[in-house]
Symmetry: C2
Subunit: 220 residues, 2 copies
């Protein structure tokens, strides 16, 4: 099983039993969401921007306006940190101290670059669509050169990464607290995908492709 190298940037010190460095776990968590948080520094001020992303191989991709601060800053040769988090539940122990949350989270590090090749731009955007709505890309009104120019596509090779995973009930079952008379357990939280809401204006074409089939909404 391929693993990310553990070093000073990604070594999980707190709760290291929950740490995972294998590609299978890390890529699995990355592939089951499309919302990440990107952190970078501008003039001494850390900034976070929530954004959509996708993955191919060991690379993360995201996009925005080519002139936006986020795109310009993250492609200026800086170290960037990207995090993806699933909040899976609340864990209620018999003590306040052992109260916790269930989650799967990944933190990745790299130095993003701009994708400037048009064919690669189109291929990546189609890949992004293939995650969200497979088969939709060729049905769409085609991308224009002006739109390509307005769009900054970012690629980040994942240099270092770590995952942390917690699941199940409270961990105080083997402590003195086990007989404290209060309800204990966990409350799962899942993401639910609701039925599609069509537009009212214009031509009303049928929906003929799957919607977000690969994410793990609804099935946990």
């Amino acid at each position: 099983m391929a693993e990310f190298t553990i070093n000073e940037r990604n070594r999980v010190k707190r709760g290291h039993k929950r740490a995972r460095y294998d590609e299978e776990t890390i890529y699995g968590i990355l592939d089951s969401h499309f919302l990440c948080h990107v952190a970078y520094e501008v003039g001494g001020q850390p900034q976070i921007i929530p954004t959509s992303y996708w993955r191919e191989g060991n690379r993360l991709y995201w996009h925005g306006a080519s002139k936006s601060r986020m795109i310009v800053e993250v492609t200026s040769g800086k170290d960037v940190c990207v995090s993806v988090t699933h909040l899976d539940g609340l864990v209620l122990a018999r003590s306040a101290f052992n109260t916790s949350a269930n989650y799967r989270s990944v933190v990745c590090y790299g130095r993003p670059e701009l994708v400037t090749d048009t064919a690669e731009f189109d291929r990546q955007m189609e890949l992004f669509f293939e995650q969200l709505a497979p088969g939709r890309w060729p049905q769409l009104r085609p991308v224009t050169d002006q739109e390509r120019k307005a769009t900054g596509l970012v690629v980040m090779e994942i240099e270092d990464a770590a995952a942390k995973v917690r699941d199940g009930g409270p961990g105080d079952g083997d402590t003195e607290d086990v007989d404290w008379p209060v309800w204990a357990g966990h409350i799962p939280l899942t993401t639910q995908q609701r039925g599609p809401v069509g537009v009212h204006e214009g031509v009303r074409a049928a929906l003929n492709h799957p919607l977000m089939p690969g994410y793990d909404w609804n099935n946990r």
Copy 2:
């Protein structure tokens, strides 16, 4: 309506029509989640840590091991950036370019400090519990001094903040694309709170308090 001052740190430049600076919107978004992402810088490297938080007035609170890197670093007098994001849906327009996501997000800035007063520590932890499970705090095995010592409680006065909100269907209904023959609309994503899963070991007390009543899981 009280508003945050707009300055160079929090001025939304891209999609400024979606920007909100009023306390009502910002506090409303903050109060409907308990997962945030905290970004800070350590030796030139931006770091993100996903963590649980709560709000009282214009202050955000979070906690961790008093010796953990995150707690030590964010309370060392640095500027920190905290973000809270609800992913509300996927928006499918007739063009790739106008494809989007629905969301409510907040970005806040401040310089966190440690809470060292024991009475305030207990009051804040009870407040945190009141969001998650009102009435549970006094039922729990009480916090010990050793546990208090092991815990770092962080307070961050929100100096600057901005929210961005997008909802509804695609925005291409008034463009030439409106008659392009592809399905268009949006797919809502919500957070669902499942039924509580009790533990098997120890005393089995009844569940006699509400679970996360104030978050907007399930009702959007």
